[in-house]
Amino acid sequence: MQKIGVFVCHCGTNIAGTVDVKAVAEALGKEPGVVFSAEYPYMCSEAGQNLIKNAIKEYGLTGIVVCSCSPRMHEATFRKTAAAAGLNSYMVEIANIREQCSWIHKDIKVATEKAIVLGRTAIAKVALNAPLTASESPVVKRALVIGGGIAGIQTALDIADAGYEVDLVEKEPTIGGKMAQIDKTFPTLDCAACILTPKMVDCAQNEKIHIYAYSEVEKVKGFVGNFTVSIKKKARFVDETKCTGCGVCTEKCPQKKTPNLFNLGLDTRSAIYIPFAQAIPKVATIDADYCNMLKNGKCGVCSKVCAAGAIDYKQQDQIIEQQYGAIVVATGFNPIKLDGYDEFAYNESPDVVTSLELERLMNAAGPNGGTLLRPSDKTHPHTIVFVQCVGSRDTTDCGKPYCSKICCMYTAKHAMLIRDKYPDTEVYVFYIDVRTPGKNFDEFYRRAVEEYGVHYIKGMVGKVMPQPDGKLLVRGADLLMNEQILINADMVVLAAAIEPDKSARPLATMLTASMDTNDFFTEAHPKLRPVESPTAGIFLSGVCQGPKDIPETVAQASACAAKVIGLLAKDKLLSNPCVAHSDENLCNGCSSCEKVCPYGAITYVDKEFRMPDRTTKIRRVASVNAAVCQGCGACTVACPSGAMDLSGFSNKQIMAEVDAICR
């Protein structure tokens, strides 16, 4: 005999504002099996939960329905409430009458009617619920951090600090990421390398951290607490254990015409290279696309000059398989390609550069040794125009609809640094809005205007026209003066929008972590769980989740580490008991379910059955490994005989819901 309790929450006025909660409680009280029905202003409050607990005890309830907000909000809360009162926590169903009713309907009658239907649907389901018990699975005490920029470095350091093993995978030959390419940082104008490289060294020296540089994640299997990851260590053609990073090979290599990607192709380097002086690991790498030895077997100079004998032209990619309890995504960003913006002449003139390229041009380790020179003729630029929002807040196909967040500040930084070092240079900044929310950010921008005399122009550049004399004629609008202006510039700097790294999308697929339309990873909750992916055991660090500057990235990286540590500190995880199970009497052993199972949770056993005529028969039947099953239900539909069913979402439960809705 079912004894179901119904609890209707007002959620203040969030629900009660458009749903007649009394009428809902009354109507649902009359549903078959319901023995108790009540409403309360805040069911999730302690008093509300006590109401539920008391009713469970007093009426000996066998199942409860809470009509409230989304189960994604408080299902866990009410399950705990039920458990505290001695009711199995899976005898709880939530009718979502807030997000899916009161908030979307304005008419009280309509919303009330719908709330009643949603309530009776949940009642129909809970009547068929069965008590479930969560099983336990162990946690592998090791974390994987994917991406070795400042986000990944900080997360790895914090996790290691708590005493857990961390593997840091970076696809480039060195960790450091974008921050290593930046010259100075706003709003303090610290030297980026000076604050980053000590952290890189910490990583290298920390016994708990293992760096897999020049490596990529190939395959991910498993689930929270127990992922199995294949990491591809790409061939460097240099034995990492032997190379001392002395750099003799890079000096002697005859192939000096290789584009220097660390300097964004603004200069060249040798085919065997160490990206920059403070690289970690400080090991040479051979660029197979340019090395004469690897391309046509003619050269071998580096091998001859290497005192350590580290060069190995026959080195192969290597696959490493490792178990992890948690995975952190810190794949970062790149500036977008500007091919769609012909009007800015980026592909036409070398003197039109992106802001990241300007960082390299101004950096002491950059192509000009820190002196700002025009890339075209290596002369000192006297007039520089900055264009903001290039591709940001742009709803056309070539741009990104979002604000890239960091451009206003780094443009102010660039303008200020140039005016500081070269006071004879006029600097113009075209802006749409100057966005400076952050500690000491607006003060910083105002200093650029007030102390350094940077000309800020409210408006946008319409066209950049390279002139025969090498100048760049910039035409733009000054909206405040309501005039069109022409500036004869020596250089134009474009604040290109930033986008998630291209490796993020395939990685998301491997991790089954969701992404938004811009390829930023989705967080489990936009406000309350910002560093976790909705996929359990996957955590988000840095710009892969959304645009952010260095201080924010570091803060998020540490927050992410805290979440990982919280997970790794557990010895066992309770697993979801809503998993598939097979009725052996019905199972045909046809293997359809096994083929659609993404986790390999289904195996087959030969089992002896008693037949009606007293004989026995051996049949092949499916068996589900509950620890591996994640409860998707693919098998239940693949099964023609209906042997396979899913706890918590059984065929009968779902059909009861369908019936209740259509009643």
Binding site: S70, P71, R72, N96, R98, E99, Q100, C101, W103, I104, H105, K106, V110, A111, E113, K114, V117, L118, T121, A508, T509, T512, S514, M515, D516, T517, T522, P534, T535, C578, V596, P598, Q630, G631, C632, G633, A634, T636, V637, A638, L646, F649, N651, I654, M655, E657, V658, D659, I661, C662, R663
Partner: protein, 144 residues
């Protein structure tokens, strides 16, 4: 609004990870769609058995919509790929039997697409309302 105005019964199956969250987001953003839509939460679009869809029609539903994660984004990696094949074939069969093909639909709605969820539901309810009551499946057996 006239009393006799036809209000369709719509059953929406939403996967827990993307579409149900998308429906919640539509609510959080107060995006209106008709109350005729009632959502059933399933773990994944691949949990939806064609039986459930026929059952809904049998019990008087006028339209059934299945929402899942975008292909490639399935929380369980591959669930929606199977759902996609199953539903394509099922819908094709219903069409073959002469059942209005506008009564069934699959939409991929991510957790971030609250606005899309509301738009899809508005559109689907409009389409089904225009079709009117679902008689054909019930009538299919009774030659009049």
């Amino acid at each position: 609004m006239s009393m006799n105005e036809f209000k369709p019964k719509i059953v929406a199956f939403c996967c827990n990870w993307c579409s149900y969250a998308g429906a919640d987001l539509a609510g959080t953003n107060r995006l209106n769609y008709p109350a005729d839509v009632k959502i059933i939460r399933v773990p994944c679009s691949c949990r939806v058995n064609p039986l459930f869809i026929l059952r809904a029609f049998q019990r008087g539903a006028d339209g059934v919509i299945l929402c899942g994660c975008h292909p490639g984004d399935c929380h369980y990696t591959t669930g929606n790929y199977y759902a996609r094949r199953r539903m394509t074939l099922l819908f094709s069969m219903l069409d073959y039997l002469g059942i209005e093909k506008e009564r069934t639909r699959v939409e991929w709605v991510s957790a971030a697409e609250g606005a899309k969820f509301a738009t899809v539901m508005n559109d689907f309810v409009k389409t089904v309302t225009e079709l009117g009551e679902n008689k054909r499946l019930e009538d299919l057996r009774c030659k009049k």
